[in-house]
Symmetry: C2
Subunit: 385 residues, 2 copies
């Protein structure tokens, strides 16, 4: 049993855009609830079992002066010692790293709670996901991952509520389809825009007016605004959408084991030009992407000729067991073309209780501030237990 | 400290439309988590300290055979005894009764948690609300009221997350205004459809096509579908919207004490004809409402003449400290006229983090199944603590 009267100890791994925003937001809360015991990135580590002596104005300076190798296993040992001393400990993983994700089962077995916007652990092989569930059951620690889908939007929590209260989820889609007034039995194809990054890119690249900016310039703007992964190919390959579809699918009992290889089992259209596959850095990728502007322009022109726009969509059809991510064309008057702006997600939950009028959550689905908010709201939920 | 290994004990007050649906949903969950110890309505009471011997198929029959006076104070004494015996006890109030609402401070002080879709306690005088907050702090018991606003939609929890994580809520509105692309500083008037009942009534009464069904026939249909309070005047007087606005306003620190008389402090337009004010029963009200169809028809005709529709809207403008509920006219092409269906709520949160693109939650905001779901999801949150 952990001591409920002492502050929750927080180890922060990853202090990039989201991580730095998270630390800022956390340090703005009253100090009696939380204490940061570790700040870790790939090139520096700060650790103090009794809490780092930092505040909102000083932490970046303190952190930048520290250097040293990052040894996650050493950090783990320190955190287990704190758990064994009766403290409630949370690892907040703000990285997108596979290596950290693969350590969740160990952390959870050791009693360290895990909160993260990192999709990797929940959308990879069934085996890793199952080992996380087992570790949670054994160690008594919890994982919370609201920010893995829709950033700060209440998507994971809403799906949890629907499933836990016994509603029957029929399908999940990501924008208002023009067919939304058809009864459920008539709906043959449900789809939607799901990724904040893809939303931003196609809202700007493909509009009802003719022509428009080049594809690479739009991707560059998205990257400059912090809406893409460091390597934009990680968004354009559709894997981000496929991972989110996997995370949501695994929360629905009848779909739980439908994606054995995780996001790789999702039928996914990649927008990365084959010639650019395997480029290591985002900078390399961005420098060569303009070579393919003509190809994207041709696809856009074809759509415009049909009075349509391009949108990258995702769908989970529970009844038909269909989970897919793809690039599609939509009429200029279609809500896919008219309703979206910025990096908006629109997630629609069609359920038995909600009947023909779905439950809809819409809003910014990417960006450091709203992602960090999703992580912090999970931390507050853990503190309320 | 309550015993975490034993089932949570649930006392259900009110077994009308929402209450019966709630009991059905609760009895569908695994028995090890919850035990119903009381079923109480105005004309019957069932109580068993070790749990009622009921299941999903039998409970209505068992309940209908029981008769006896309802003495809430006697129930309270039984529940305090269970708390003192170390059990976690929850009062689920599915009524709309002031009398029950006024007992929350006692229940909370006695350690009994309160979960409810009943808006009364949270939207009346500041004094009652403050006494609830004090009782929560003293007794250690919690109140959860997600279903008081938007039924099963994640409205209260979303606003809690926004406020708790330090976001600045600028305003809350209830449908997409045509001015939504203006920057915040240019927005002078924000408004929206908020009540599921009012949404249903005006979506059906006032459409872009000329003419339409009579006002009283639409109210009757809403009542028959369970979308109104037993007395439809309780919806048409705007108090329901004003109460929801009060509940949300009190969650925002700078507005917390802005409504000292609760919903009565909200600038509210009543749609109850003055001649029908004070009628005791819903049936009396419904029998005389057709006398006023001509008046509502005249207002609709005036709007149609201007190519507009009527919508009952609500607004909280945090910056301007404006909280109001009113009937307004909107262009036929306005989203107020085109986006809504059924008894949909659309709630938009404009915040600093979400910037010019608000966080939007939309879906059915009335009806027994989705209201009961909101109550049950609160109960599951309490169980997870």
């Amino acid at each position: 049993m952990s001591d409920q009267t002492k502050p929750i100890l927080v180890a922060v791994v990853g202090v990039g855009l989201v991580g730095a925003e998270f630390v800022d937001q956390l340090l703005s809360l009253p100090k009696e609830y939380f204490q940061i015991v570790a700040l870790v990135s790939s090139d520096a580590t700060l650790f103090a079992a009794d809490g780092l002596a930092i505040d909102r104005s000083s932490w970046k300076g303190v952190y930048q002066q520290s250097k040293g190798p990052t040894i996650i296993s050493a950090l783990a040992a320190e955190l287990y010692a704190l758990v064994n001393a009766g403290r409630k400990v949370v690892l907040v993983d703000n990285t997108a790293a596979e290596t950290v994700a693969h350590m969740y089962p160990n952390f959870l077995t050791g009693g360290v709670n895990v909160i993260t916007p990192n999709k990797k652990a929940f959308s990879s092989d069934q085996e890793l996901f199952d080992s996380i569930l087992r570790a949670t059951a054994q160690g008594g620690a919890r994982f919370l991952n609201e920010a893995t889908v829709g950033a700060g939007l209440p998507i994971i929590s809403t799906l949890k509520d629907l499933v836990a209260t016994g509603d029957t989820v029929l399908f999940i889609q990501y924008i208002l389809p023009s067919e939304n007034k058809l009864s459920r039995t008539q709906v043959t194809k449900i789809e939607g825009v799901f990724s904040g990054t893809m939303s931003y890119i196609f809202n700007n690249f493909s509009t009802p007016s003719s022509g428009g900016p080049s594809f690479s310039s739009v991707v560059k703007a998205a990257r400059d605004n912090g809406y893409t992964e460091p390597h934009p190919g990680d968004d354009l390959n559709g894997a981000d959408v496929a991972r989110k579809l996997t995370i949501l699918s695994r929360m629905i009992p009848v779909l739980r084991e439908a994606l054995p290889q995780g996001y790789k089992s999702v039928d996914t259209r990649s927008l990365v030009p084959p010639a650019l596959e395997g480029l290591e850095t985002g900078d390399q990728f961005m420098s060569r992407l303009p070579d393919f502007d003509g190809e994207f322009e041709a696809v856009r022109a074809e759509a415009q000729h049909e009075n349509k726009v391009l949108r990258y969509v995702g769908v989970i059809d529970v009844e038909k067991r269909v989970v897919k991510a793809s690039l599609e064309k939509y009429e200029n008057a279609h809500p896919f073309a008219t309703s979206l702006g910025g990096s908006d997600n629109i997630i629609m939950f069609h359920t038995k209780r909600y009947g023909t009028r779905p439950l809809i959550v819409q809003g910014a689905g990417a960006g450091a501030a709203v992602t960090a908010m999703g992580v912090l709201s999970d931390l507050l939920k853990l503190a309320n237990r």
